[in-house]
């Protein structure tokens, strides 16, 4: 557990630093811009805290810097490409799966089922590649390893951000007033 605490602290510090730096130029026009700036800060904090050892971390940093450049011109895709494409892909996968489920298995169709299973796995692997940053260039084995690492790091990031939110939203402590 020690490791995760340190990691979360790293994320928190990077995040606070990043948000503060970003806050310097904070006359953002809209809420969306602020939100995407905060998300970029959070992702950069995560990538920086995680270091450059895992592949996803490097790819994430690269994407962020690319997205930052793209943001200077009015490009919307950089920030929003995250969710919609992958969600549609996964919806497609689950829809397909539902339609196949009722297939009977006999000896003749066993091989077909085998092929089908492989197809399903391959589809999901593709979806996973889209989700994990930098997943394109990896073989399946490293992809799984990266996914594991990425999932753990994401969880730490979520926890850290929740902690930060709670800290910022804390009701004013009467103790403070005395100082």
């Amino acid at each position: 557990m020690q490791g995760s605490k340190q990691f979360k602290r790293a994320i928190l510090k990077n995040l606070v630093l990043g948000l503060r730096k970003r806050g310097v130029a904070s006359r953002d026009m809209s809420f969306h811009e602020r939100k995407s700036a905060v998300r970029h800060a959070a992702d950069a904090a995560l990538a920086a805290a995680r270091g450059t050892a895992p592949c996803w971390s490097r790819s994430l940093a690269a994407e962020l810097s690319r997205g930052q450049d793209a943001q200077l011109r009015p490009a919307t895709s950089a920030s929003e490409e995250y969710t919609p494409r992958k969600m549609t892909m996964c919806k497609r996968i689950s829809r397909r799966r539902r339609s196949i489920r009722a297939r009977p298995k006999s000896k003749a169709t066993a091989k077909a089922a085998d092929v089908l299973a492989r197809v399903m796995v391959r589809r999901r692997t593709r979806a996973l590649r889209d989700i994990v940053p930098g997943g394109r260039g990896m073989d399946e084995c490293t992809l799984l390893g990266e996914t594991l690492d990425y999932a753990v790091s994401l969880k730490a990031q979520v926890d850290t951000m929740q902690l930060l939110l709670r800290a910022l939203q804390a009701p004013k402590n009467p103790m403070l007033m005395q100082q």
Binding site: Q2, S4, Q6, F7, R9, A10, K13, N14, V16, L17, G18, R20, K21, R22, G23, V24, A25, F31, A37, V38, R39, A47, A48, A49, G51, T52, A53, P54, C55, A62, S65, K86, M87, I93, S94, V121, R124, E140, C141, T142, L144, G145, E146, T147, L148, A151, V152, S153, K155, A156, V158, M161, L164, L165, R166, A167, L168, A170, P171, L176
Partner: protein
């Protein structure tokens, strides 16, 4: 929570950033590495990879100026990290050095005192409780860093146990550094796979860590020479790799400790022996091993058999986490004003400011939990118990600035916003606790 023991063993940069790079050369040499240094080092470290962090991230260098700027001019990886290594040694040695380092070391020390574990004050968070990190490993560390440069094959004192070797890792534990590097397969990206492979067996082994802290402590202490991931998990993981290796031995006939770049695999009895099927089998086992790790990570996947379904769950889990990040960043964006206030404090003492804000964050967290309004997540409950001594330790000495921030926060945050946040937060809390329940 299941994922807690999967913690990316020591790969992250809080000066830890160096940890995977250190390899077996030494325990995670920097005791309490200053955080901003790490960020700077990471920014510097990432620069050679041809990426630029967002422009504002360049300013992440700033707090580390005095300590790291001397060497991080070109942003060279090894120089940055070696400066990291040397400066914390410096800082922890006497608390001397520049103001930066002293202040940050101070902060780290406090953070260390927050931690529950009873370890030395400045070292608790950053070193395994078992090992006392020697300080003079900067040379070895620098050497290890150079080995990490992308495209370069790993230099020997790298921690990695190679892609496959559960067995190899157990042996390398005893053997120390030398065995690690040759364990790599040919043509694989050195850092990621090695760190990953080292991570994976460590993680898999770390699964059992929870119940067996003491025994693993003993084994880890014994095997401390090698891969220093500086995390308790790493230490335990390495110790546990021995157990895994024993199991691995039974299932896979012995993999002699690789001393070259090849992984030696022996065919099992009654199985095809041509190279293709062997390689195929090795690959399949790697994949299934990782799938098992993922299965224990993702909540509610114990009963799911089959690769496709498992991958489905994994995808859903990662997507839900990403959505959570989106949601939280949206909420953070709405309450940004108090962070923006810091702009006026920027010209002055950045580091103490940062450490104020952190103090605020942690102590507020403690207050909130003390209020008991929200059901704490497991991690936060751990930290919350630590916060109470923490808050008293801080003493609120530095909080004039903080108060104004708080005032701003309250004035801006009140009204409809706070109400909305509260509702949103409850929902968020519900999702989190729901996820926990699922396990």
């Amino acid at each position: 929570m299941a994922d807690e023991h999967f913690f990316p063993a020591g790969d992250f940069a809080s000066g830890l950033g160096a940890a995977p790079f250190f390899g077996s050369s030494g325990p995670y040499a920097p005791a309490p590495p200053p955080m901003p240094l790490d960020v700077a080092a990471c920014a510097a470290a990432m620069a050679p990879f041809g990426m630029m962090l967002p422009p504002w991230a360049a300013e992440l260098h700033l707090p580390a100026d005095s300590a790291a700027a001397t060497t991080t001019t070109a942003g060279h990886f090894d120089s940055a990290l070696s400066s990291l290594v040397s400066s914390p040694a410096h800082a922890s040695g006497g608390g001397a050095g520049s103001d930066d380092v002293a202040a940050i070391g101070d902060l780290i020390g406090r953070l260390g005192s927050i931690c529950n574990t009873a370890a030395s004050a400045s070292n608790s968070c950053y070193s395994t409780p078992l090992s006392s990190p020697p300080r003079g490993t900067s040379a070895a560390a620098a050497m290890a860093f150079r080995g990490y440069h992308p495209g370069v094959q790993l230099a020997p004192p790298l921690e990695t146990t190679g892609r496959l070797s559960r067995v190899a890792s157990s042996k390398s534990l005893g053997a120390g550094a030398a065995a690690s590097a040759p364990a790599l397969e040919n043509g694989e990206a050195p850092e990621t796979t090695s760190a990953k492979a080292a991570g994976a067996p460590a993680k898999g082994a770390a699964r059992k860590r929870k119940g067996k802290a003491s025994s693993s402590a003993a084994t880890a202490a014994a095997t401390n020479g090698s891969p220093k991931r500086t995390k308790v998990i790493a230490g335990d993981g390495e110790g546990k790799c021995g157990e895994d290796a024993a199991a691995g031995d039974a299932s896979e006939e012995k993999k002699p400790e690789p001393v070259k770049d090849y992984i030696h695999v022996r065919a099992r009895r009654g199985q095809a022996t041509d190279s293709h099927s062997l390689a195929e089998r090795v690959r399949r086992e790697k994949i299934s091993e990782r799938m098992k790790l993922l299965q224990s990570l993702v909540p509610g996947c114990n009963k799911i058999t089959g690769k496709a379904l498992m991958l489905d769950e994994i995808i859903n889990y990662v997507q839900s986490l990403q959505r959570q990040v989106e949601f939280l960043s949206m909420k953070l964006a709405t309450m940004n004003p108090e962070l923006e206030v810091d702009a006026q404090y920027l010209p002055s003492d950045k580091d103490t400011m940062m450490h104020h804000v952190d103090a605020a964050a942690f102590s507020y967290g403690g207050d909130v939990f003390a209020g008991g309004a929200l059901p704490p997540t497991t991690m936060e409950s751990c930290t919350s118990t630590a916060f109470h001594p923490g808050t008293s330790a801080f003493g609120w000495a530095h909080d004039h600035d903080l108060q104004s921030i708080v005032n701003h926060d309250m004035t801006n945050g009140h009204g409809q916003q706070s109400h909305h946040h509260h509702g949103g937060q409850q929902q968020q809390q519900a999702t989190v606790s729901h996820m926990k329940v699922e396990q």
